[in-house]
């Protein structure tokens, strides 16, 4: 199973990084369509940092406080507060669906670029290339230029760091 680094990869100790890609994991019987619990090496975090819940992508490998890895699957929750050490690449998600309890798996890390190439390759084989390319970008968009105080105190510009496009108010004074 190929993986890319997750958003909290750096939260984990070096031993956890090594164990993730060198150890063998077994699918627990306590698994379902929400997620697959994995038995295997314990993946310890560096400190006791607590995170704020955030969005969870399909195939995210989140790690519980006890160090158990869970691969989120098709009926996953939309947000979660466990750190995500890695993510199964899109091109390998179908093989997650084939796993049964007690199956053994190993993980291999690939770069984000490689994961993307593999995904496009797979969709080409399946004849979905157009769809894959259309899906590649999300435009996060916000109304702006409405509140002078947000302009003055810098919060408007700060908000722009989180969006890809803005809709600038251009109502103008009446009668112009």
């Amino acid at each position: 199973m190929r993986i890319t680094r997750g958003p909290q990869f750096d939260w984990f100790a070096d031993e956890a990084h090594r164990a993730l890609t060198s150890g063998e994991f077994a699918v627990s019987e306590d698994s379902n369509r929400l997620g697959l619990r994995l038995n295997g090496p314990r993946l310890a975090a560096r400190g006791n940092a607590e995170m704020i819940s955030e969005g969870t992508p399909l195939g995210a490998i989140q790690v519980t406080a006890s160090g158990q890895a869970i691969v989120l699957f098709v009926e996953q929750q939309t947000t979660g507060g466990y750190p995500k050490i890695a993510n199964v690449i899109g091109a390998d998600l179908h093989s997650v669906g084939q796993l049964r309890p007690r199956d053994a798996i190993r993980f291999e890390e690939v770069s984000l670029g490689a994961a993307r190439e593999l995904w496009i390759e797979q969709t080409e084989v399946a004849g979905f290339r157009g769809a894959a390319l259309r899906m590649k970008r999300v435009d996060l968009n916000c109304d702006m230029g409405e509140l002078p105080e947000m302009l003055a105190n810098g919060s408007q510009e700060a908000l722009m760091k989180f969006v890809t496009s803005v809709n600038v108010a251009c109502g103008g004074p009446r009668g112009r």
């Binding site: 968009n141 230029g145 409405e146 809709n167 108010a169 109502g171």
Partner: protein
């Protein structure tokens, strides 16, 4: 009626917002609403299709002028507030908005406005997503 500088939709606000967008590398679009009121576009007002078309044209043109001076491009138009909601329900209103934008794009050549953010009614009005 107030005309003071530094309010939603006036030139000073548009310019400052566009400059910030350029610094942050985000695309600039026009939030085109119904005529200004204290609730800025959130009150449904009765306007004729002609008025909607004309209002969208003038608002986007106003933003386009400022954008050009700043070296930015108007990449999209998003109907604002009540206008957006009504465009989502009425193909006729959606068409009037698209025509207002189209008039402008025709006037300023190919490098003009890229697309209208879909508001539901655009498909009712016979347009495909993202004009």
């Amino acid at each position: 009626m107030w005309l003071a500088a530094g309010h939603a939709g006036d030139e000073e606000m548009m310019r400052a917002t566009i400059e910030q967008a350029l610094r942050q590398g985000v695309a600039v679009g026009a939030a085109s609403g119904l005529r200004r009121s204290r609730k800025f576009g959130r009150v449904a007002m009765e306007l004729s299709m002609h008025e909607i078309r004309d209002s969208v044209y003038r608002q986007v043109l106003a933003l386009g002028k400022v954008a050009e001076e700043c070296g930015a491009e108007v990449a999209h138009v998003k109907p604002h507030g009540a206008l957006y909601n009504r465009a989502a329900q009425s193909g006729e209103i959606a068409r009037a908005i698209a025509e207002g934008v189209g008039e402008l794009a025709a006037g300023c050549g190919a490098g003009g406005v890229g697309r209208v953010v879909d508001a539901g009614g655009f498909s009712l009005g016979g347009f495909s997503r993202g004009i």
